[in-house]
């Protein structure tokens, strides 16, 4: 029995089978199409249908976009050019962009001074780069510290001593925190670092700046906030609010987690009140009501008020996003930090926040993107953001009746900004992923 069986079991391969290509339908584009587009009848029908829809949409949009007219002085001239070339369908009149792009970007900022916002933008880029990309030299952080004051001076102009006098206040605060601790104790130093600079700004900064200007006048032409507009305005409000709302939001989130009753309740009330009311209401508050509360001699720039309101609004959202990140951390992380003897702020800064913020990145960036787009709401309180400017451009008889081209341009600019934020956040998430959990 075993003998007969051995014949069918024993086998020795004589020649090796060479490697072969898979069947033609099993590789490359064909395989991909079969698997992804035509895997079943339903799938095939849907594929064809979708292709038709895509074709239909493109067939309407492409000729309009690509065939657009770039060189004209008014909408009617655009139409004349189109009719003259014998095209019987609608085409875009991009000429409005070539004619008015500078207004969409800079508002009514004097055109001979465009270099100032551009330089401010470059400085901002240099300031933010070392914060966004850790590999850049740490020395660049000096630019980051000076940038806000420099950018402010470039944008609004006036005496150079004003921003310097204000910056000096921060210097005082920093000095009190660093050197005052032995004298005043930790809490005393922090309170001192807040109170002294505020008093300085309220009563001394103005006269000091003026006195310095009188002795050594250095300055550039002053530009009022009412001349700001377009993307410049959106970027100034958006960027300031983003930069300021992150630290504020983190503090609020920590406050909401705190065991200290007063701090906890204040944070909760602040967050809930700010979040519970639409941004547009806060903007009207900023434009109308704040003046009632402030002493009449303090004329507070409208743009500054808007920046403050948008910052507060965004920080409430950031606080909730960050709180989610804090809650997602296992309690063991807090205990690990505590058991090593780190104090509260060290534990937060070194252990808890780096992890919580990492978890919160998608939420934080969503909030930032939302905030940036919400800056268009300032049009309702009379600031000329890009949307407001598109109205202003239409008010000119030459461009009366033009909508799509402007909106597409505005949309594209916003998209570039928001998309890069989103891309950066995804890059950051990948970079911070240390393969845990």
């Amino acid at each position: 029995m075993s003998d007969t069986h051995a014949q069918s079991v024993q086998f020795v391969r004589g020649t090796m089978i060479p490697e072969q290509d898979p069947p033609i339908t099993e590789k490359g584009a064909l395989k991909w199409m079969r698997e992804n587009l035509f895997s079943s009848w339903l799938n095939a029908i849907l594929t064809v249908l979708s292709l038709y829809v895509i074709y239909w949409v493109l067939a309407h949009i492409l000729p309009w976009t690509v065939g657009g007219i770039w060189d004209a002085e008014s909408l009617s001239q655009c139409r004349d050019i189109r009719d003259a070339s014998g095209i019987d369908y609608n085409v875009a009149c991009w000429a409005v962009i070539t004619d008015r792009w500078h207004q969409l970007l800079f508002g009514f900022y004097p055109s001979e001074l465009y270099w100032r916002p551009i330089l401010a933008l470059i400085i901002f880029g240099a300031a933010i780069a070392p914060i966004l990309f850790e590999t850049l030299p740490r020395k660049m952080l000096i630019v980051s510290i000076a940038a806000p004051f420099l950018a402010y001076w470039l944008l609004w102009g006036g005496s150079v001593w004003g921003p310097i006098a204000v910056a000096f206040g921060f210097g005082i605060g920093w000095a009190i925190v660093t050197y005052g601790e032995s004298l005043l104790g930790a809490l005393g130093a922090i309170i001192g670092a807040i109170v002294v600079p505020v008093l300085y700004w309220l009563f001394l900064a103005g006269p000091v700046g003026a006195a310095l200007q009188a002795t050594l006048p250095i300055g550039i032409a002053q530009i009022g906030s009412n001349q700001f507009g377009g993307f410049m305005l959106a970027i100034i409000i958006g960027v300031s609010a983003i930069v300021l709302s992150l630290p504020l939001g983190i503090l609020l989130a920590l406050g909401r987690q705190s065991d200290l009753f007063i701090i906890n309740k204040c944070s909760v009330i602040f967050i809930e009140v700010i979040r519970g009311v639409p941004l547009i209401v806060w903007l009207f508050t900023a434009s109308l009501l704040l003046n009632y509360f402030l002493p009449p001699e303090v004329s507070f720039d409208l743009m500054l008020r808007v920046i403050i309101m948008v910052t507060l609004f965004a920080s409430a959202y950031i606080a909730e996003v960050v709180r989610g990140g804090l809650a997602a951390l296992p309690r063991g992380q807090y205990e690990g930090a505590d058991s090593l003897g780190l104090d509260y702020w060290q534990a937060m800064r070194l252990i808890i926040l780096p992890q919580a913020l990492k978890i919160s990145i998608p939420g934080i960036v969503s909030t930032f993107i939302g905030l940036f787009k919400d800056t268009t709401l300032v049009v309702f309180i009379g600031l000329l953001d890009p949307i407001g400017l598109s109205q202003a451009i239409r008010a000119d008889s030459a461009w009366n009746g033009i909508y799509w081209e402007l909106f597409i341009f505005i949309g594209l600019c916003f998209f570039i900004f928001c998309f890069s934020m989103s891309q950066y956040s995804q890059w950051l998430e990948r970079k911070l992923n240390t393969g845990h959990r």
């Binding site: 205990e335 058991s339 090593l340 104090d343 070194l350 992890q355 845990h436």
Partner: protein
Amino acid sequence: MTETSPYATDHVVDRSHMKVSDEVAIEINNMNKWFGTFHVLRDIDLTVYRGERIVICGPSGSGKSTLIRCVNALEEHQQGKIVVDGTELSNDLKNIDKIRSEVGMCFQHFNLFPHLTILENCTLAPIWVRKTPKREAEETAMHFLKKVKIPEQADKYPGQLSGGQQQRVAIARSLCMRPRIMLFDEPTSALDPEMIKEVLDTMIELAEEGMTMLCVTHEMGFARQVANRVIFMDAGQIVEQNEPEPFFTNPQSERTKLFLSQILGH
């Protein structure tokens, strides 16, 4: 499980340095703790001398973790007195941070910081709490990582290490603060059998060097080898304490007998 744990080390424990001095390391007096209205710890009295190795065991929920977490103020006690290294635990944050930096703690789930490398995990507290220069802190860290036998993992992240390796890093991280007392809360109970041995070996080595240790563990082999006192807790109270030999061979209380018969599988 037999009477000696299968994970007991092969090497003979050297007891020459394991001298217990008269100096008091931890003194707990009449301590009571409540979680809300639930009375977790009741009238705890315990004096730990420098150089002592104490093993705490008891059924789940008996308050073992809570007890040793009270020692470095991870939990607050409501009544009684805890003195660690001559400093009384009070609400003063400065005192608490000082005690925590003198008392090392290892957790069941390691609690390493996943966003920092092993080396950074070990140098963080020395640099920020002790203000040790970075270079020196790194040297110390490498010294202790060698001691727990994983210096080659220094640049990895905790997520890339096995459980046993992570627990040894956690021990090294505590040691970098040069603590005078070490607390262990079930350091091996989240680990696979073969990893338990490597962690226990590390702990035995520590004991041999004379570290004051307070361990919550169910590794009875470890208790026999290195402990000089075993404490049995039940329902928030210390039910029995004795030297390991009499504790295991001749337990006095019925509860202890029942517990030991369950855990040792008699």
